[in-house]
Symmetry: C2
Subunit: 238 residues, 2 copies
DNA sequence: AAGTGGTCTAGACCACTAA
DNA sequence: TAGTGGTCTAGACCACTTC
């Protein structure tokens, strides 16, 4: 019986554990199936529960597992691809987009938003909350920020978006980064606060400057963001 | 003296801790400054070290902190924006792109890559390793996969890329998702294995099908992916 | 050698879900 | 009410960097 690599293993236990679990997931489990509970799994692999959890956390981060308190740990389906590059000449809320408008409010602009919109810190903005689902599961929540420059406060969400549609859109700028879900976003996405999310920030540009900013928060565990062909498709359309 | 919210706090300790630390970071520390060590910090806030670490981990995930074993925890600069949407009519390795070619090998295609390239599992492919830096720090590492269909094995990296440049590029398809760094990527990015990364997969399309696939791995803690204007800029160029 | 963050343990209790 | 994952503790040792 070979000693294998147990004598000199620079890799930590949870790393090997993760590999072992990942292979078991491929060979012995099917999508949606529920795993043994954490205490049993830890005992089965001969590690402390905290160590087992470290491996599960990474697998959840990679979209292989889904854990729900009070329920259990289940095997995730492959991530769903969600398109985040709609036509570059369309405003949020124009017919056919993937979002469902929820509500509107009129808070002071967060510092970062104010900067993107070219406003002073604390200026009032319209904020329209929207959500997006795939396969009947919520995958993203978004806030559309519009300056209250020309449109008075207290409008309906649809009215706010409608004012954008009248304007001439010059282009969009988009960024993607990793974040952790704030309490409100987490609730809407059916996750715990702090869950990893992909934050997509889009700036809508007109000749006069930035007319709107959207901050969309996608569940990182279940989503794969897709950017459709940025060359041929447009050439075909034009 | 008010009891504040200590009587009924559904939020966990590490969540409050994170907020407290985040505010301290803004007001009492400067970029690059080194924080007190974890044992001292934990004592200062009256929590166990594991709880303190849970808060630090989230702040690191959000790009606010950087922790290095044997050194300490430092305050991170804002994330750097890296453009991941070069001109949609250019191949990898054409003059002026942001990457530095490292080496080439000729492995069997991983299952996922084979599928994207329309190959059978285990078919041989060229794999060109490249890296990308910003502010003298490595921010991404990439593998360019090219089928060995027309080009024999054992080529130099530059020769492999050069064969692509002769072909007519019809378009690109790009996806972004969250991953965790494999051992090799982690080493190149100066991170520990398992570190969170943004994985950008690009498919290069010709009339004949998929000519190449790139898998780029960006440090999620230090990078903000940017997608330049997808409308106006091209109109101006054309 | 001293000090840092990284890993690991063995326990406890809590919040939540479902029968 | 029983069972799940989520939080928290107090300790130990290890890997790495720096002096």
């Amino acid at each position: 019986m070979a000693t294998t690599q147990l004598e000199a293993l620079p890799e930590p236990k949870y790393w090997h554990l993760k590999t072992a679990l990942s292979e078991a997931l491929d060979s012995e489990f099917t999508v949606g199936q529920i795993l043994p509970n954490e205490r049993d799994l830890a005992a089965r692999y001969g590690v402390a529960r905290a160590t087992l959890r470290q491996a599960l956390e990474q697998l959840e981060l990679e979209g292989r597992l889904q854990r729900r308190r009070g329920v259990g740990t289940t095997v995730s389906p492959p991530r769903v691809g969600v398109d985040v590059s709609p036509a570059p000449d369309r405003w949020p809320g124009e017919p056919g987009d993937a979002w469902q408008t929820e509500s509107a409010s009129c808070p002071a602009a967060p510092a970062q938003i104010a900067q993107l919109l070219g406003l002073a810190a604390g200026d009032s903005v319209h904020a329209v909350r929207r959500t997006r689902a795939a396969h009947s599961q919520p995958v993203a929540t978004e806030l559309v920020y519009v300056p209250t420059r020309e449109l008075p406060a207290g409008q309906e969400a649809e009215a706010i978006l409608a004012t954008l549609h009248l304007r001439d859109l010059k282009g969009q700028e988009r960024t993607v980064e990793l974040g952790s879900a704030k309490a409100e976003d987490a609730r809407l996405l059916d996750r715990l606060p702090g869950a990893p999310v992909l934050v997509v920030t889009t700036r809508y540009l007109t000749e006069q400057g930035t007319a709107a900013v959207t901050v969309a928060t996608y569940r990182a565990d279940t989503c794969r963001l897709t950017f459709g062909d940025s060359g041929a498709m447009r050439l075909l359309a034009g």
